[in-house]
Structure formats: C-alpha cells, structure tokens
C-alpha cells in the first residue's frame, strides 16, 4: 500500500466515497461530483497534494458533458493525482478554485476561452489567447477548424499581377 491510497482513504473518511482508478504506480484518477469538488480539493491540498500542475477540459460530446481535470502533485513523494469532475455541455458551470490556488485564475481563464466552461466566482474570464474570436470556443469537438480556415482564409490565386516588381516583364 502506498501513501497515495492512504491519503485517499483519509479523504474518503471525511468526504464520503468516490471512485479511484490507478493509471500508473504513481498516478491515479479520482472522479468527484461538482458539488463536492471544492471540499475534496481543499482536503487534498491540506493532505499534501499542494501543487496544482494544470486545470484542463475535455469535451465528451457523445455523453453531452465537459470533463474538467485538476492535476495535483505531491512534491514529497512524487505522486500525481488527477481529480476529474464533469459538467453538462448545455450549462457548463463549475465553482472556481482560485481561493486554493491563485494561479487557477489563469488556468480557468484558459479553459473558459477554449471550452466555454464558466468558473463561478472567477472575476477574470476575459479572453486570454485568442483575439476577436466570434465562433464557438475552438477546442469543442463540434468546432471544425477546416471549415473555419476555408471561410476566413480562402485559397487565393496569385496571378502575374503579383509579380510586377522584381521579376516582371521589365527585367
């Protein structure tokens, strides 16, 4: 039994059961409902998973949900824990974790921009990377980059009129 399982047992004793799936010897995924997410993350942070590596989204379009993954890391033992939660695609709202990890503000902003997931309580969900984006959030599976590219950057024919200077008929 490793220390990760012990910690997860302690967390379960406080917050109730959740499912655990081992990925590798040093990495596990737990699935937590949105309503219990903040409480469990808070306990995990206190129990040593204090480093937030990443917040990321996954679009499960067939299931009609967005999955949100919080990647936590424990420096003392080198174990990683992926905390997974899912929200419906129609009303994707989840509570912010800014009060636990201030950098989450930007990870959440990034996920908001690319998936449209709203992080309730995050005051700073302005666009981060994209500029003048008017389509649906681009990392969603129903966004078609090929179509977007054809519409906005159509193929152009470069005829001889583009070669007037330096290489035209004067030379």
């Amino acid at each position: 039994m490793n220390s990760m399982n012990e910690i997860l047992k302690e967390v379960m004793a406080i917050s109730g059961e959740f499912s655990v799936k081992e990925v590798t010897a040093r990495e596990s995924i737990i699935f937590v409902e949105t309503s219990r997410l903040n409480a469990i993350l808070e306990i995990l942070k206190r129990k040593g998973f204090s480093h937030l590596s990443l917040i990321t989204g996954v679009d499960r379009i067939e299931d009609g949900v967005f999955e949100v993954f919080y990647t936590l890391f424990r420096w003392e033992t080198g174990e990683a824990l992926l905390v997974k939660s899912s929200v419906s695609r129609d009303a994707p709202v989840i509570t912010t974790v800014m009060h636990l990890w201030p950098t989450a503000r930007f990870y959440e902003r990034d996920v908001h921009e690319f998936f449209g997931i709203v992080f309730d309580g995050n005051p700073d969900l302005k666009p981060l990377i994209l500029e003048n984006w008017k389509e649906i959030p681009p990392m969603r599976k129903d966004f078609d980059p090929q179509k977007y590219s054809n519409e906005h950057f159509p193929d152009r024919h470069y005829g001889s009129e583009f070669l007037v200077e330096g290489g035209g008929e004067n030379e």
Binding site: S53, V58, G78, L82, R105, M139
Partner: protein, 368 residues
Amino acid sequence: MSKEVKLFLGPNHPGMHGNSSVHLYVEGDTVVRARLVPGFLHRGFEKLMERRGWMQNLALIPRICVPEPDINEAVYAMAVEALSGTEVPERAQWIRMIILELARIASHLMALGGVGGSTGLYTISHWTLADRDRILDIFEKITGARIYHMYIVPGGVRKDLPEGIESEIVEFLDYIESRSDEFENLLLKNRIIRTRTEGLALLTREEALEIGVTGVGLRATGLPYDIRKIDPYAKYDSVVFDVPTATEGDAFARFTLKYYEMKQSIRILRQVIEKMPEGPVNAKISSGSALRWRVPEGTVYTHIESSRGEYGYFVVSDGGEKPYRINVRGASFPQGLYGVERLLAGTRIEDVALWLTTMDFCPPEIDR
C-alpha cells in the same frame, strides 16, 4: 503629483524570448502594475494534434517550445507509452537522457546569454550562443536536424546513435568544462551583473509554492525539488547527480543555479556514456504502420523536469488513431501570467527584461 503612464514592453523586444507583450503601468521609472498579454504565438497546436495520427504529431510537438524542443518529444512519448503500456528498450532510455541533458545545457546557455543581453553585456550572449552551437552540431550528427529533432518517438528513439558520437560528446564536455573559469569570471564574479541582479526579482518560498513556480525558481528558495529525483523517468534513478539549491531567491541565485545545473548535466552525461548498454532502440506501440497506430483508451498526465521547471502533457485517447485531447502544461505558465501581475510591481523599467529572463519566461509554451 505623480502621474501613471502606460508602457508597452514587446511584443518585439530584445529582452523578450519570443513574442509576448507586457503592459506596464509606471510612475517615474518604477512599475506600479503589470499585465501579460499573451497570444501572439498561438498556433492552435492542441487542436491540430486532434486531427493527426499519434506519430504524425511528432512534426508539431517540438515547435511548442523553441529554446528546448526535445522535452516535448520526450514527455509526449512517455504519455503514449504509459497509455499503451509499451516497454521502452533500455538503450533508448539512455539515449533519451543524452538528448535531454544536452538540450538542458543548450537551453541554460541560452538563458545565461539572455542575462547578458538584458544587462547590456553582449559578450556573454556571444560566448554562450557560440558554445550552444557546438551542441547543435552534435544534435545534427545524431538526429539530422539542429533545432527541431523529432528524434525521441513513442516507443524509443528514431534510430541508434551514429558511430563515434560518444567521443565527440566527451570532447564537447571537456571543452565546456575548460571554459568554466572564464564563465565564472564573466558571469558569477562580474561586478556589473552582481550589482544588477542581487536582490532583484525576489521570490520567497511561500510565494513560489503559492504561485506554483517550479524548477530553478523553486530551488532558488532552498527546496531541492527536481522531478528527475522526485518522480524519476528514463534512467535518472541510475545516475548520480546533485540538485543545486540556493536560499536567496533572487535573480542572481536563479541564474547561478543554472550554471551549476549545467555542471551536473555534464556529470550525468559522462555517466550515461559509460553505462549505456547495447541493444535495440525502439519498440512498437501497436501493430501495423506507424501512421495507423492505435493507442488504448485512457487518460494520463506525464511530466518531466525541463530547464524551466515542470513541463507536462495531459493526453486523452479514445482508442483511435488520433489523440482525443492533448493539453500542454508550459513550465512558465504560473510565473508568466500570475507572477507578472503579482510580483513585477516595484521593479524599475530597465530591470523588467532581466526579471522576465531570470524568471524563466517563455511565451511559446504559454500560447501553444
């Protein structure tokens, strides 16, 4: 009555590594507030990767981080191997360490050159970039390319090392060690650099942990946290090396640590060349042509210690020929976005470029 003025640093600026802009609100010469405006290098890699095969993505991933491309290949390969349960041949693990450590030296040399550039001492950047070029020569002999190698592939490495490259690497290591006195005089004992960097860009241990700074930034606050030691990958558990730390937490401590890390990398490389066994260098992820490989369904997060800190890939597979979702965790995301807003205030304008350089700030991995 003081007046606040808005000043744009970048997107093109000699103190900027790649294109990114910092909006500074200054009073006199001192920064009052600052905000990073990223996005100039957004190339949509994560979306593009969902449309290409597992092996085809190798053409994209090194380009996510310009100064140290090999970490992308390694961490992506590790993720695919973890999902498919592939056992990487031992020789390939050792070859990966050669590539990763040479890349670390190259990246650190470039970062030290950045310190020279930001302090106006261009001799340093000329020297370090000239030495980095020797590493690129070695890379060219091993992989055929100088910057983007596409050499570390899922399952191992693309092909075995060319004959006689070991002696050339040792020759390079001897050369770079022979330069250490000169580098120390030029960098670490240099009065100008010490005056400019000591006490600059202070980062306390509490701030570093709270913000999530990893790598040299965290180690400069006294914590010996290095993923090569804490969560060893490749064969880092079979070589002996130290993790240099400092307690000052300032700009000088951070780039001094880089210099000492280069010495540790040299130490690792010498051991690798001695211990490396013979044998095969790649294994198949699944049957059939590499363009049609399927990777079993699953989710994994892998990370390695880059020259700037924790560099991670979050990879989801639905069992198909293409990744379902990939997210890149750039090492400079926390200090680049949150750190700039939180900590840059109080810095003088002329020190902002130095602040960004020594905080290990790399826009391409933030924008992706």
